[in-house]
Symmetry: C2
Subunit: 212 residues, 2 copies
């Protein structure tokens, strides 16, 4: 992109990451970890392949990510965030926080990758009872299951199924998000197609209290 040519920290940051797709590429590398080109492409529906290639090049030059040519037998190129790139976590988090209210009106034909929900899950959920034994929530929505683990005062979310979940939640993305964050009561959510198998009290465990 063309530089803003302004001696301002925000403008200089946008000179690097303000280009279209750039922050979503960073998002993918954050929710997937080191990734191959084709996996990035799959997680960025709508991007043109020439753009992805060009953006990866410029983000590499800017020191945000780096490529690693894995040796045989893997023989694949792997893209990963540099420490400097990982420092964008705060920017991503604030962006997700601000964008979350825009999710309430549902998918409206948008593409869905359930990994994208690991970010809001970690941001909006808390372990309200740190001293109780951990709970594991498997969420089945979108393209693949994700797992939320709460224990010891921390909440961690990742892609993939759980080994021994306390409860398995399934339904449409919008409804699942509503139920998880407590915006939707379990009764309301069930009337919108939400299903669960196991102990639903695990949801309350991670929902933020009246303090926010």
């Amino acid at each position: 992109m063309r530089s803003y040519r302004q001696y301002c920290a925000a403008a200089r940051a946008l000179d690097v990451i303000g280009d279209r797709w750039n922050l979503l590429i960073v998002r993918e590398l954050m929710v997937r970890g080191p990734s191959r080109y084709t996996d990035l492409q799959a997680g960025l529906p709508g991007i043109a392949t020439n753009l992805l290639a060009e953006r990866l090049r410029t983000l590499e030059q800017a020191g945000v990510l780096e490529r690693e040519d894995a040796p045989p037998p893997v023989a694949a190129t792997v893209f990963k965030l540099t420490p400097r790139g990982q420092e964008l976590h705060g920017v991503m988090a604030e962006l997700v926080r601000w964008g979350a209210p825009l999710m309430v009106d549902g998918e409206r034909g948008d593409e869905v990758r359930s990994r994208w929900f690991t970010f809001p899950a970690e941001l909006f959920l808390t372990d309200t009872e740190p001293d109780k034994p951990p709970v594991v929530i498997e969420v089945r929505t979108g393209d693949e299951p994700i797992t939320i683990e709460a224990g010891g005062g921390k909440v961690h979310a990742r892609a993939g199924a759980a080994e021994d979940p306390s409860v398995v939640l399934s339904g449409k993305p919008q409804v699942v998000l509503g139920a998880l964050t407590g915006k939707l009561s379990l009764d309301d959510a069930r009337s919108h197609g939400l299903q669960w198998d196991g102990d639903p009290s695990a949801f309350e465990r991670v929902q933020p209290g009246p303090a926010g």
Copy 2:
């Protein structure tokens, strides 16, 4: 801009504020407060007037800002952030934090508006001695003076000269920033043209300690 069409909070946020110039328009409204069109233009060097007009329209529709037609005799339109727009403060702050390291190599011919420095000033400075009487630092660099006030554990920065400054700092933007944030010792800064009038211990008062 064209929507990313992804059911992801970050993508939906970028659908609203990801367009070129949008976040800098928000920056201007944050550092200037409610502003007229021409003042926005002056604070956004490089923007084409048709783009500013179009962006103001779409940001208004998105609920980020609103326009107020001041009655005669002022007879000017004033643009201001809505509460929803002010919620972008966290995004701006993280962006400035991430972009700050990109400021160390100097202005390189970029445009400068000293108001832009109020953001990093509030973010990177702290009142290290909350119980002492307040200090006021007037900073003269770029196009107009800005004032930093520290007291009671808080640091506030604003555009404009100070009434009764503890110290007046002047020099090139890069050097002033370095001296303020403690990256440059006063001796080093002076050798790069920094000048001050008054009690330089006010700088130490606001510089973050070894804890960060």
